[in-house]
Amino acid sequence: MIDFELSEAIQQTRRMTHMVAEQMMRPISREYDEREHEKPMEFLETMWNVSKGATMTGGDGGEGERARRDPAERTLGMVVAVEELCWGDVGLYLSIPNPGLGGAAVAAAGTPEQKQRFLARFKEGKPKWGAMAITEPHCGSDTSAITTTAVRDGDHWVLNGTKIFCTSGLMAAEKSDGFVVVWATLDRSAGRAGIRAFVVDAGTPGMHVTKVESKLGIRASDTATIVFEDCRIPLDNILGSPEVKKTSHGFKGAMATFDATRPIVAASAIGVARAALDFVKATLEEQGIAVRYGAPPQRLTALERDVIDMEAQVQAARLLVWRAAWMIDRGLHNNLEASMAKAKAGLVVTQVTQKAVELLGPLGYSRRYLLEKWMRDAKISDIYEGTQQINQLIVARRILGYSSEELR
């Protein structure tokens, strides 16, 4: 039966995460935007202590609060929580020590033994980070063009190549006992079928962070370039089968990670959009300007129309995200719906935050307030974890029944 009411457990999670966002994230939000490349260790350690063990997609829960939740609504609970945290600050949210996207890949494609070996460490000890290394200087969305190589040498794989734009890459590769999941090719002539993901433990010789990017937004989060030079890892650090077959099954398995992570990333976009919208509405209220919901549209001011449109857009995107998350919890294939949610949410947050700055004029543009920061933070949602365009392409293929060959 169609129902839009969040369960009591999720509502409680929402209240709790909102409190974290409001009381712990907002007060340091501006500071760690300005102090790029520095980490709010006190905040991160607190978060580590309360959330130890949960993978990004909850695929292999530990003792953390999130894992104790009813698995029937684990992902939905996650998207609700992520929206709240990103209402607080998306850069800080991305910095929270956890297995991250790398963990999501292990959870999605790893064997039980691999999950134990790589994820158990997130239940104990000092803060740790996981990261995913896919993008290369010359390829982004076109992952089949990956040039980083994995060559077998006795009991090891030897990795060579350069990866860029790895979220939390510095923390995962060098500053904690985490790991990096690296996408590399076993056989370039096999195209997609030759691509596999490999887990590289932090501190493995031959893995170096050579650059931490300076960015438009999400400055509290480190975005690293990681170079692999004859980096040797154990044979059983490969996710999935090492055999290269004609089919691109292994590649598809790795890509399936995104069906699980896109709703989460989309939820983070909703959080930022809502932060901007709340700020605009609070400012209008202070000024005694009421938005006339239900009035004839022809009678509305341009300002009212904008606010109303922003509100409807945010809610529309949120419901698409909830649906994509709900499908995961139901065990339904959500490739289409996850891409829809991500495409919509990325665009909505970009437009809503840009419009919010416009509406508030000098207040929007001033660094005295957080709105300008949210606009800068927002834009990444339309890019990472699959750009607007790549998600449109996936949706288009699905609704048209075309393969990636038929619709390039």
Binding site: I2, D3, F4, I308, Q315, W322, A343, Q392, I399
Partner: protein, 363 residues
Amino acid sequence: MVNFEPTDEQRLLQQTLAAFSRETIRPQARPADEADAVPDALVSASWALGLVSDTVPERHGGHGSPRSALTGALMLEELAYGSLGITLHLLAPRLATIPLVALGTEAQQARWLPRFAGDRFVAGTAALVEPRWDFDPTNLSTRAERAGSDWVIEGHKTFVPLATEAEVFLVYAQTAEGPGAFLVEAGTAGLQVEEREKTMGIKALATYALRLDGVRVPAANRLGGEATSAQPLIDAARVASAAAAVGVARAAFDYAREYAKERKAFGVAIARKQAIAFMLSNMAIEIDAMRLLAWEAAWRLDRGLPATREAWLARQYAADQTLRICDNALQVLGGHGYIRDHLVELFLRDARGFAAIDGLAIV
């Protein structure tokens, strides 16, 4: 607990209506638009589906499904997919029955509902829209004044569906406490049906201007009794608009998608060009987005939660997006989209109607 899955019963209804819409309504979409009329045979055929009698409780002679705005929204999307104009004709009696079920007193239900549970189509209607550019259903120009034990209604309405054949009119009028609704029998003195409206789209549905010249009805005819506000009906109407808009948008999208897969340019189907494919993917995303907003507003109505804001947002969003989707669908067909051999120009004209047609409290 959040759930996006209709019940088995709702699913069955969707399937039944989807088939009826595709096989029986759609083939008539163009002829009905050209003829400005819905064929009698189609009206009779639809009656058997219980689209109206299902709204009438058993004790009043109907089939008695409890009212659900959500089920209504699902139904409306499927039917409007076939043709918006035809759908609104078939469902016109619900303009009377749904408000009666939602707000009517037991006595009002007993008096007015049974006639809609018979074995043939009986027209009922509602008079809400007024001929002014900034029409506002919550602040009506039509007035109802108390005169002893009666109400006297004065005003001018437009877009009143099936006014020449309706047995009962639900007339919305401003009272001291806001908008109220009044049951007026056809033929009541002062109730004058004027000329048929000529509209750009939704042409299959006959609508009329209506003048209320000192129309006098007993106090017992105020829907829901003394001081009952019509606001819940206005909210329901907006949900209905949103749901119908989803159906029209989906119709245009499907039409454009099939065309794009057939039509070739530069040696390949135009759907294989990203410029076209992305227009289609945007449509698909927005159709789902507006459907979810409509569902949420409908769910709030069914739960008895405040829904005015949500219903209005859902309606505005759906109206905007549907217009854009129909426009893009036409664009996908290029010059062929402009020709009346194809249905997309009809969908575009119908879609624009959501800017003017309001007050369809049929869910």
